[in-house]
Symmetry: C2
Subunit: 331 residues, 2 copies
């Protein structure tokens, strides 16, 4: 079925309030869920909503806990999320980084002791709305083995980069695993193979069989040893600011207490918005001018598909799976 | 043959001075080359030295041109490298970012109109020496096709991340291509195959044959579409601060006029050095405790091998290929 953007926000808000969330916070949180579905990232929108309600009921997440400042040193600050609702805290932290970038040219916030930030794109989006370059990342529970090893000691630690350009929506939201476990499951349920190897089977051979990877727990990081290094470095950077690292997140029953880094830089202090638009447009145009490898392929910039889906969904309504809608209505 | 670290610096300095470089600059540059060879990155050390001398003679690089400030806004600054010697300008730019981080908690410099920075690790090293987290990247000439396209429109744009920890040397220096063209050539000359697919052959099939990739110019970015996005974003971030983008770098006869970004963050404003050491040690220990996939594999952190090689080379002398040494002596 299709639900209007405003109606989805209203529905989420109502349910959050019913489960004890204060109305203003509920509306902010509802908007984040609706935005994710609206951009076509359904896994982090409507599909995820029932789990968050369960977390509230089970007191895994306490919406009343909002981030507080631990300490600030001019352009960089450390905040504590007190294990509140991850995306609300993360959005506020990114806004603080952006405000610092307005004041200092560059600004950063490390948000420790928070929870899952849901979709990393949310914080890149905030950078774009403020004409800022945004670089953000989070740690997470261990799902990837380090290169040369077997057990999943590394998080998939998504890395987000956003570049402002009027009329475009350039936003990379990249997990370090080649495929998410959600994608592996989806592909397996469809009885399909992965287009490229996504991990190892239990005999240590690279495989495109999603079920074999789910069994071995040896999903592949992007670029083999390179993604392994990148996932480790992102966890280490957060840890030196006091974050609970992946190794300890992994020991818990639920994936809670995650930490995030938000960096914003203001290019408009150095180049005009007109120049920024013209150079970004020219680069994207050049990249898109490459000869397609076959008639099916299209060359897209990161964020382009989400932007297109957003426009369509705002117009036609947001697709929500019937069973998901039914579950939400009954919450 | 093996050359002592100090003797290598002396040799490089003499040759640079002979080719018209001012003595102090020559010594600084010589140290960068010697450090790269000392860390086992010979391609960016002694092996590269003769080409730089040629660039000086042909006036492609002008050592007398040092970076100047374009504009500064508190914690972030833009500098112009005036197409001087890339690594010297880049090292100074990273030092400025570090000094800003000391003052503001976080600091950044975008260095435009510079040249090739040689080895990205040099600037991560500087972060480590200053107990800083470092994040640096450069753009470069197009060698990677965008995902879905054929022509090499994207640079391999190395991304560097460094995390300080006493007694360790955690430094990732990661190009976005799965293998460098240098590695492809080396593997082909040895008559070997790549351990994992490194690109496409001329029929559009993934291949481990290095020669086929050299022909098609379709090297693989890490993580297929993911590395393609990352390479593009790094180029775009630099471009919005006024850098010449990859598309224009690629139009030139030589790979000159590259730009770099340097970001430093000071974790010691937020956590003690003792805490930082203890948490980093614990994370690395945990990662290394993974069961090796086979008896040949060892689990290393990024930078570990270079650190070990450095110690060995400082002790036993730095290996320099006889023909390379002969070429340098004759310069």
């Amino acid at each position: 079925m299709f639900v209007k953007y405003e109606d989805l926000i209203k529905l989420f808000t109502e349910k959050l309030v019913k489960h004890g969330v204060e109305e203003n916070l509920a509306r902010e949180a509802a908007t984040i869920f609706a935005d994710n579905s609206c951009d076509g990232v359904y896994t982090h929108g409507a599909n995820r909503f029932p789990r968050i309600i369960r977390y509230i009921d089970e007191k895994v997440i306490d919406f009343s806990k909002v981030l507080t400042e631990v300490s600030t040193f001019n352009a960089f600050a450390k905040y504590d999320g007190h294990r509140g609702f991850g995306p609300l805290n993360a959005k506020k932290a990114m806004q603080i980084a952006i405000d610092k970038a307005k004041e200092y040219g560059i600004g950063g916030v490390c948000l420790v002791n928070n929870n899952h930030w849901l979709r990393g794109g949310t914080y890149g989006e905030l950078a774009l709305e403020n004409n800022m370059v945004g670089i953000c990342f989070t740690n997470s529970t261990g799902i990837l083995p380090p290169w040369g090893g077997k057990e999943p000691k590394l998080g998939n630690n998504p890395l987000v980069m956003a570049v402002p350009c009027e009329g475009k929506h350039i936003l990379m939201d990249m997990a370090i695993s080649q495929y998410s476990y959600g994608k592996l499951e989806e592909t397996r349920l469809k009885g399909q193979k992965l287009p490229y190897p996504g991990g190892y089977d239990e005999n240590g051979n690279l495989t495109t069989d999603p079920g074999a990877i789910e069994k071995s727990l040896r999903a592949l990081p992007i670029g083999y040893w390179k993604g392994s290094s990148l996932a480790l470095l992102l966890d280490l950077i957060l840890a030196v600011f006091g974050a609970m690292p992946t190794k300890d997140i992994s020991k818990q029953k639920e994936e809670v207490g995650l930490s995030q880094m938000f960096i914003a830089i203001d290019p408009t202090r150095f180049e005009s918005q007109e120049y920024i638009k013209s150079i970004v447009d020219a680069i994207i145009e050049d990249v898109k001018s490459a000869t397609p490898v076959d008639e099916k392929s299209s060359i897209r910039y990161p964020g382009e598909r989400e932007y297109k889906v957003r426009k369509e969904n705002l117009e036609k309504g947001i697709p929500v799976l019937d069973e998901v809608y039914k579950t939400i209505i009954e919450l």
